[in-house]
Symmetry: D2
Subunit: 381 residues, 4 copies
């Protein structure tokens, strides 16, 4: 049963296990004529990369992306883009105790129950290492969106009981990368770090959340109801490992807000177009974008890999067992999830831009049926 594909016109298909030879993603439907900056893809991978600080796993992966197809002389050709990333630092030995004795709240048992077997090294296919593929593909999507004036930013809005005050889009651009907790509000970032270290010191871990905002989205994206923008964004985010909630606009708090308070009245903008005066709706009305920023929040539960002693059962021996997960693990997920959330938003919005005809599916610039070779250089000097 397959679940490794995402998107309708801008599609990805991924492969790879935590401890296999390589990870890979095939991007289908990227229009021709996009100037691909490999460095920009790499930069996103570096943000997601393990080993960035002592509050993230110390696994050492260079995570070098290699472009196998679909790009020529630095520009996309409209044909499938193959990206691969080698796996280097795999130490499977540590996972042997869990082959038939599932770690609490991991996918160990569910994978084995579903398939009768599983690749157990490093969590195999269920490892969050899979998200390296998403970030690589999302980096391509981000470059398309940049071309269209659309930008996506995210930051860590909650860790445990520490909640960031609302931050502006500009603040996210400036401050998210300031610290390894990736909260764009510097004082809160310091607190978050503190609380994380407290849990880490006790052999424990803690949950949190990532806020995102998307600016520059034109009005008219989305196909109600089953392809409503919030439905597709929600699916994207709830695919991220460890996600337990997706909220858009006022989110869960909308339950306590009255219609009069939440309703956004209309005024004319500088082009004499109707525009909502406020944005309690989160950029989507009736499943379709209004042109206002889309914003929301994604909650991630505490990492399930913790060094404390826990109880499990061994289905081979039929005995109860104590396990300790002593690998290299993050004590909190949101900091490394920030680029993943951005990537999934980018993949979703790019797909909508294609589906709505805002981006031509064959070529980013120029008219269909033109064949100018100067469109981008492809001939040897």
């Amino acid at each position: 049963m397959n679940g490794n594909r995402f998107g309708r016109l801008f599609q990805i298909a991924t492969y790879g296990e935590s401890h296999g030879p390589s990870m890979g993603v095939v991007i289908s439907g990227c229009p021709a004529g996009l100037e691909i900056e490999q460095a920009a893809i790499q930069e996103e991978l570096d943000r997601r990369k393990p080993g960035q600080s002592h509050i993230s796993t110390s696994r050492d992966e260079p995570d070098r992306v290699e472009i196998q197809s679909g790009v020529q002389d630095g520009f996309t050709t409209g044909t499938p883009i193959g990206l691969t990333i080698q796996n280097k630092d795999a130490r499977s030995g540590k996972y042997e105790p869990f082959i038939t004795a599932p770690r609490p709240s991991h996918g160990d048992f569910t994978y084995s129950a579903k398939f009768g077997t599983r690749n157990w090294g490093g969590g195999g296919r269920s490892s969050a290492r899979e998200t390296v593929n998403w970030v690589a593909a999302g980096a391509v999507a981000k470059q398309i969106l940049a071309h269209e004036g659309i930008e996506i930013r995210a930051h860590v809005s909650r860790i445990g009981d520490v909640e960031s005050p609302p931050v502006t889009f500009e603040a996210m651009g400036e401050h998210t990368e300031d610290t390894d907790v990736r909260c764009a509000h510097p004082e809160t970032a310091a607190e978050m770090r503190e609380v994380t270290e407290k849990y880490q010191k006790h052999g424990d871990s803690i949950g949190g959340a990532v806020s995102f905002e998307i600016q520059g989205v034109p009005r008219g994206l989305g196909a109600p109801r089953f392809e409503a923008v919030e439905a597709r964004l929600g699916k994207a985010m709830l695919s991220v490992p460890a996600t337990t909630a997706f909220e858009i606009g006022l989110g869960r708090d909308a339950a306590t807000v009255s219609g009069l308070d939440r309703n956004d009245e209309w005024e004319f903008d500088e082009n004499d177009d109707p525009t909502p005066i406020e944005n309690d709706h989160g950029g989507v009305e009736g499943g379709i974008t209004t042109g206002e920023p889309i914003y929301g929040e994604v909650t991630l539960h505490a990492p399930t890999s913790i060094p404390s002693k826990q109880t499990t059962v061994d289905w081979e021996s039929g005995e109860e067992k104590t396990v300790q997960v002593t690998g290299r693990h993050d004590p909190v997920l949101p900091p490394r999830a920030v680029p993943v959330v951005e990537a999934m938003a980018a993949l979703t919005i790019t797909d909508f831009m294609l589906l709505s005809g805002r981006i031509n599916p064959d070529r980013l610039d120029g008219q269909p049926g033109e064949y100018d070779t100067d469109y981008h250089p492809s001939r040897p000097e």
Copy 2:
């Protein structure tokens, strides 16, 4: 751009506008041999039906479902099931003021901006009337799931600041239908009714939430990561008009819970199979079901149609305008959303049962390749 299809193997495609001649849904992929009780479909439609009490719209629709195909002598034949529901009580006149002057926080402007036009009567395609199709199809799905021992229940867990204490699955079965607010906790139901009437009296409306629980789901459903059970369920629920949050398991609260607290340790069940001791995970680990109940919550914002005066602009006249939405509207959405949430859960889980091979896609009972005519009666006496 199309967005009226849901599901991979158990699929629906819908049509219909609020004030058009009929609503309709084509169900594809329903296995043969299911005994269809038309009364059971009708019962679900009656739950969703407008005009049930003075806290719901007084629009009077009999909502009689007519089976056009795919069922013979009361059993499905494995071919597409066409269901239609006539629209009867459409009074479009009241919607004329909004043709070029969008109601606050409705889809009026976004539909017009997307398509350049829209069916404006009664909200047209953006009306929640569309969900009658979902409930009809969901009723078929529920009958399949009942055959497999899977049951879905929901109730209203929040209206404004009034929050229901947790209720059992049994309580939902017994008490949800007791009152028109559909909260399974009787005392809370009374409070919810009170708070709703307070908003209604002031020409306002209020938000709320629906909790759902699914029991009897086998372990092994779901296809990580993009077809993870929570991702698909989330997409289903975020397709419901007015949804602003989807939560699974601990949901948003998972942010404040530590790994040690949230992790569910393993024990053996009565069949000597590993089973989680608790269910903080909400029935899904690694995107795949554990066999524990799946539970979560869906938040719906306050109805946007309120009789109070609000400001908008008329894009034809170029002038500001005051609007009052005086149609027949619900002051709160969750009570009527309960059967819709159940329907979307049923459609999603049925699809997963087919995708995992737990239900044979061609016939509910019997082996592929058998052709016994006694499988169900189809011959005239």
Copy 3:
């Protein structure tokens, strides 16, 4: 298992059995702003309709299409179009002998073997009556294509040993409807009628073929390799009941032609664009359209319903049996298949026009994000 959906962006989902209450089709993805002429849909249905002459079945169906949604004041709104056609003249009694004794070369046994049951009246779902849905949807697609300057024509090119000489696109426009055999070459039409009547008189039937040509297709459609134009067209045509061959360009004869003979050299056209000098390639090179006419042929085997005595077995009694299929049946299929072939071509090319960005998926004219209500009239006078 579902197989009633066709298309990616311009999609249809159908329902209905030969002797059920109605046939229906949901069209998703039709852009807004198309002026729908209901009479034009009806005209296509009338071409397909049974009872047109004594060489077609005498079943009497008025085949009146009813538009349920997606059209307002004569223009599409961009939302799903629901079309229904009532079944009137169903006489199931004649089919009772075949419930457990399958007719030779019909789907009786395969449907029963697959689903364990079947709707046996009139062939149920396996009846060619299903194609009424396709022709209705195809008529909408044809109106989109007409708006883009694309036209599709077909005629009967072979019946038994009688083969039509090649005819021009113009001849197909002028003469196809001249006779009930629908061959655009009048002398051949007379011969075809003669040979058909000969088989009919002997209680037999005969095979034949339909040629089609598509003009006005822009260059650049198609997505190699699995969405190559010929692959998608082939799938469309091989969905038509009784089809045994699909050919494009030189088709089967290409096997005996050398590269030098078949290769089409290039010249400049009036716009100084490269254009193939000849069209042995059939309008598609490398899976992508060249701008030349697309042409091909579809072979349909002889109707399997014949009044002559044939042998079968009854799986209930376990005995051999003689059957005679005495219903109302066509002695040859291509004449009534002409509008079906045209419809399937129209659905396919419309989908490609959307997929390539040549037609905006949201609205036929105007720019995305515009909301002019004068786009088409939708307000009561």
Copy 4:
């Protein structure tokens, strides 16, 4: 615009250009527990490989497949299988003359017109080198089918005017690989070789056809009408570069056969099940398999790359030009297309086996929900 994906439950997504670093294919939906013989994949690739004889291109590619994921200890794990094949012997220089001067009947112009650019080296994405991905994935599918007792064989049935007499399934198994023309009828093979060399000697090329037969298919596969077995098989085969016709059963010849002649009467088989006495229907009735062998033919036009002088135009210089295609090219396609046709048949039938529930989508053997680690060895000794 994407067109690199095939299949619904057993899906492939491919990438790669003729002269890029590597070709690759991601297989999604392969059940767990299949013993993968890498040698068997390699064997199929070797059959397709260039440079096998002087009637095929002399390009020298070792075509070593590397398994990147989804297989552990020789068995599939149910997760995506990544396969890559390095490109070694790329000599792009020869293709420079054609950058703006399209070769007759190649995809040079159509790709450039569609995307505004193209990877021109070796034909880039339009090269038949892409089929290496299909053969690799098809080899996996073949191993699944072998496990279910289904076997696919093909051979060259026509080259130019030389037509093979019908051969048995056994003959195809024994003789197809005897010669480099891959005709299972030895005398005809000799003639075919002769005629091919004649064309080759004159700087020309010639068309031909491949016949295929599939045995062991259970009755009940296929989902009429748009997923009819012949529709899906046709799409598969018409995706193969250079295909101009697809026929099933009597194919094109069915036009001249009467209903009485073609209709297949029924008898009881050894299990007292109805079975067609003959197989003029080609294994499919009403779009669903009867259990009889599926057979058909695929026509491929003459290779378009020929060393003779041909005329084209250069869209940059605006001048007419003479081209000679002097690379390493096959003078006839069917011999190397044999494994490609088999692969596409295997991918299609495997998908149908999953879609019909005949193969469990999660695991090849065992029951859903079992988690026995002895299912296959995955633990270090």
